[in-house]
Every structure is written in structure tokens, then in C-alpha cells.
Symmetry: C2
Subunit: 301 residues, 2 copies
């Protein structure tokens, strides 16, 4: 019985650009979690194994091999070792993986592939695992999933396959414009003004050609009228969201949509999409990525 439990012990890793998350899974339950800022971009490529071992050391046995399943940017060109993309249409029940060679013999490691699309070039790494997690519990789902974030994704699912998808720079544009542009002086606010957000989304939905001028107007309006940072943060958010809405309309118009992301972001998307779509269901990224890795794990049992 101990031996059997032991065999059922493994580690799920979500290793992204900025964050490292690991889950110790025993008997299909998470018994311990580690989350650090050791994201890929902070780790030199020759130190990936060492960093991983240091972080999860307390979970390892000296006389047994612990299996690790990892997903995310760790498998990118800038990551530990490149796990080639799998092309759309892509069945998430049989996602490819690579097994980097390791110095330490206490672990085995599988890094799962991302998904690429050749026509209308696009790529994802990590989102496919979240989608696999969602599909594991909703195996008959056909429709659109939105994963808001740094690189916001809209994904069409049919018969457990990713049929096509589109990425928008929404989160990254928000971050670099807030931090690195002249708008830095105007948008430093904690909160969003919801009505201003909706008004701003509508402004650009109706006239996308105003986008670049509207961005500068955020600063100009602040210099002239000083309406406060939450107004200007809401405008910037609204303009960027509107550009995403315009480009993703084929995914959400008259549709039931699923949102997978962090709670703040999915709440904002839900608020903006309310009345624009038939229905909205929300799920957490972390839950989905763990379920996704568990689902991949099933294939090796």
C-alpha cells in the first residue's frame, strides 16, 4: 500500500516567464505547493536543473525517481529546452513532450509542447494545458475559450481539439504603456472606474482609428483636466480591451464563452462582455493548469 501511494506521488510544474509554481500530487490530491519568482527569465539556461532541484528539494526521495510534468515557457526557445510546437488542429489528449537529459537521478522530467498555428501565425505555451484541464471536466465542450493575460488568447474548441486561435498583446501593451510611456504620470491607480471602462471600450469599438490618438489624449486630458488616475487607467484599459474585442469578434459574437484566468482579469472581462455574449463561465488558471497536467499524467499510468 505504501509502495502504491508512493507510485502515485508526482510533481506538476507550471514554469512561466515570471513565475515558478509546483504542486506535489499524492493520490491525485495536491499535498503541498511551492510558488516563487524564479520565472524563466530570471534563470540562466544552464541553471534550470539546479534551480528546480533547489526549489523542490523537500519533496524528493533519494532512493526513488519522482516524476515531474512541466508546462509553460520552460519549453520555449528561451527556456530549458525547446519542446517543439504541435500544430493546429491539435488534439489535447495526445500532447507531445520532451525529456531533457538530467544530471540528478532522483527525478524524471517531461516538458510538454506548446501549440502553433501556421496559417495566421500564432503560438501558445501553457494555455493548452489550462484548456486540457477545462476539457477534462467538460469533455463535450465545443465553443470559445478566452484566456486573458499578458498575451490574451481566444481559442476555438471542437471535439477536444484546438481548431484555431488568436493572440492579442492586450496585457503586455497595458504594462509597457503604463510603465514605459509618457502615460506613466497619469495611470498610477489601484482601481478601475467601471463606467469609464465601458465608455472607453465603446469609444474604440465604434472608432478603432482613434486608438493611437486616444492613447495620447489620456496624457493630454490629465495635463489639462486632471480627472484622477483611476479615470485614466480605466481609459487605457478600455482602449486596449476594445482593440482585442474588435479582433476577436468571430470567437464571441452570439456565443457562450469560457474565461480562464486570474480572478481580477476574468471579472473585468466578464463585466465588459456582459450583454455582448450569450453566457459567460469563469475558471481559475491555476486550477486549470493543475487539472491539465493531471490529465496528461493519466496517459502514462
Amino acid at each position: 500500500m505504501i509502495e502504491e501511494n508512493y507510485l502515485k506521488k508526482w510533481i506538476a510544474v507550471d514554469w512561466g516567464t515570471s513565475t515558478f509554481r509546483a504542486y506535489l500530487v499524492q493520490n491525485n490530491e495536491v499535498s503541498d505547493t511551492i510558488e516563487t519568482k524564479d520565472g524563466m527569465k530570471f534563470v540562466k539556461s544552464h541553471l534550470f536543473e539546479q534551480t528546480l532541484l533547489t526549489l523542490i528539494d523537500r519533496w524528493l526521495d533519494n532512493d526513488k525517481i519522482t516524476e515531474i510534468l512541466a508546462s509553460g515557457m520552460v519549453g520555449s526557445k528561451q527556456g530549458w529546452e525547446e519542446a517543439p510546437y504541435q500544430k493546429t488542429p491539435c488534439n489535447l489528449k495526445s500532447l507531445n513532450y520532451i525529456t531533457p537529459s538530467l544530471k540528478d537521478n532522483r527525478i524524471s522530467l517531461k516538458i510538454f509542447s506548446g501549440v502553433s498555428q501556421i496559417n495566421q501565425p500564432d503560438v501558445m505555451r501553457g494555455e493548452e494545458t489550462q484548456i486540457a484541464g477545462f476539457l477534462n471536466e467538460n469533455p463535450n465542450f465545443n465553443g470559445s475559450i478566452c484566456l486573458p493575460g499578458t498575451h490574451s488568447k481566444w481559442v476555438e474548441i471542437k471535439n477536444n481539439n484546438i481548431i484555431k486561435f488568436k493572440t492579442f498583446m492586450t496585457g503586455e501593451l497595458f504594462e509597457i504603456i503604463s510603465k514605459n510611456s509618457v502615460l506613466i504620470h497619469s495611470v498610477k491607480a489601484e482601481k478601475i472606474d467601471k463606467m469609464e471602462l465601458l465608455k472607453s471600450v465603446d469609444k474604440i469599438l465604434q472608432k478603432p482609428e482613434l486608438f493611437s490618438n486616444a492613447l495620447f489624449q489620456v496624457r493630454a486630458d490629465d495635463l489639462i483636466n486632471s480627472k484622477g488616475p483611476s479615470i485614466y487607467k480605466s481609459r487605457l484599459s478600455g482602449y486596449l480591451l476594445a482593440i482585442e474585442l474588435l479582433g476577436s469578434v468571430e470567437f464571441w459574437k452570439n456565443s457562450d464563452i469560457v474565461l480562464i484566468g486570474n480572478p481580477d482579469l476574468t471579472a473585468m472581462y466578464q463585466f465588459v462582455f456582459n450583454k455582448k455574449v450569450k453566457s459567460i463561465k469563469k475558471f481559475l488558471s491555476r486550477d486549470m493548469i493543475l487539472k491539465g497536467l493531471k490529465n496528461f499524467k493519466k496517459n502514462f499510468q
Copy 2:
């Protein structure tokens, strides 16, 4: 005669966010030039006078007051002292200025106002001086002037007045996307591929809703097809230019346009606008700002 020449000696200063430029003017000719990286953002506000004095020390006399006329971001809220904006419509023959109090008695200083627009909030600082320089030599000009740059401006001129204008974040978006986003890996090129630039402009002109997705596709296409950085730099430039073109159409459609900027930028704009406008004339920012300050100087003689 010496005394008369002496009286005609003054200094023109173009003090921007990143660059300091000063011109010693004697008998209406530039006899010496100083250009450094002591832009406003690198100078602490209590050190403006000291920095200016150090930079232009070799031009100063101990027993006479040298007049300095300055323009640009030096008069902004984050600059030496705020020179309030003058509102549109704004006659460039009578631009306001402030005279910051000085510790050193070898100089007098006038910092000229920027121009603001209340309806459709917008602001400029420095561009009005370039426009004044252009209008000094083209006093009967009525039409549109484009000043491409970090914050690209389109300005409507009528009877020596700035009637209205629109700013686009084109240059700043290009810079922060190239340097701070995931596209950093794809767009590090010296050159632009002109055909790719035109194709990219047209793509977004026809479908502006693709903008945010097209930006991410720059990276995705590089990961999948590796067409080389000059292709991807050209795409990024084209997409941003297209957004500016869409938003500024009222200024250039069926018009004769004037471009004022640095040679590389005006050449790129000329290439993109070729066949889209009736005619294009190009002028250099530096020449125009100096002419503009000379023009302002006339009012005090």
C-alpha cells in the same frame, strides 16, 4: 559696430526630454552649436540653471547679459518651470513665454509656451516653434503639417494660426514595443524592408481591428518562419504607421502636406504617403526650431 554686433548676439535653446541643443546666434547666423544628452529627464529640477550655465559657459560674457530663448519640454510641468499652454486657435506670431528667476546675472531667459487644445484634449511643446519657423518663410501657408516623432503630430494651419491638431503615440509605441515587449527578440534590425512596410501599412489600413493580434503575430511568425529582423521591424513600423494614418485622414486626404522631422522619419513618411496625398514637402526639425526661435526673437527687437 562691435557694440551693435554684440547686441545681436543671443542663444537659441531647444531643450527636449532626451536632448539639449543650443545655438549661438550672431548677426542672425549660427556661429556655434552645442548638442548633448542632457535632456530634461536626466536633469534634476533644481539643477536646470547650473546645467545650462555649464553647457553654454564658453558663449557667456561676464559684463553683459546674454539673452536666451528656449522652447520644448523645458517649459513642461516636469521641466524647469511650467510655461502655461496657449489654447487653440493659437496665433504663432504672439506666443507667450515665462521668465524663470535666475541666480546668475550673465543671462536672461525666456521659455516659450506650448499649445493645448481643450476639445479633443491634446498638447504640444516644441512643435509650435518648428511650425513658427516654417510659417516665417511660408507666411501664406494654409494646410496640414505633420511632425513625425515620438509623439507624432498632425496640425491644421490657417492664417498663421494653429486651428487644431492631433497627436499619435506612433514613435513611443514603436520604441517601447521594440524594447520592452516580447517582440524584442524579433525586430532588432538596422534597415526597413520597404515593400514589407507598405504591405503592413495596407493590412492595418484595411483591417484596423487586427492591430493587436498582428503585433503578436510578428513574434509568432518569427518563431515559426524566421524571416529575419528587418521583415519584422518593417511590419511593426507599418502597423503603427497605419494606425496613425487611419486617425489622421482628415488632415491628409487629397491634400498638400508638409513634413517636419529628422531625415530618416520624413523619408519613411514620404515613402508611405506617396500616392496617398497630392504633394509632399520635407523640412528638418532642427532648421525649423532655430528659425522659429529667431522669429520669436524678432518680436523683442
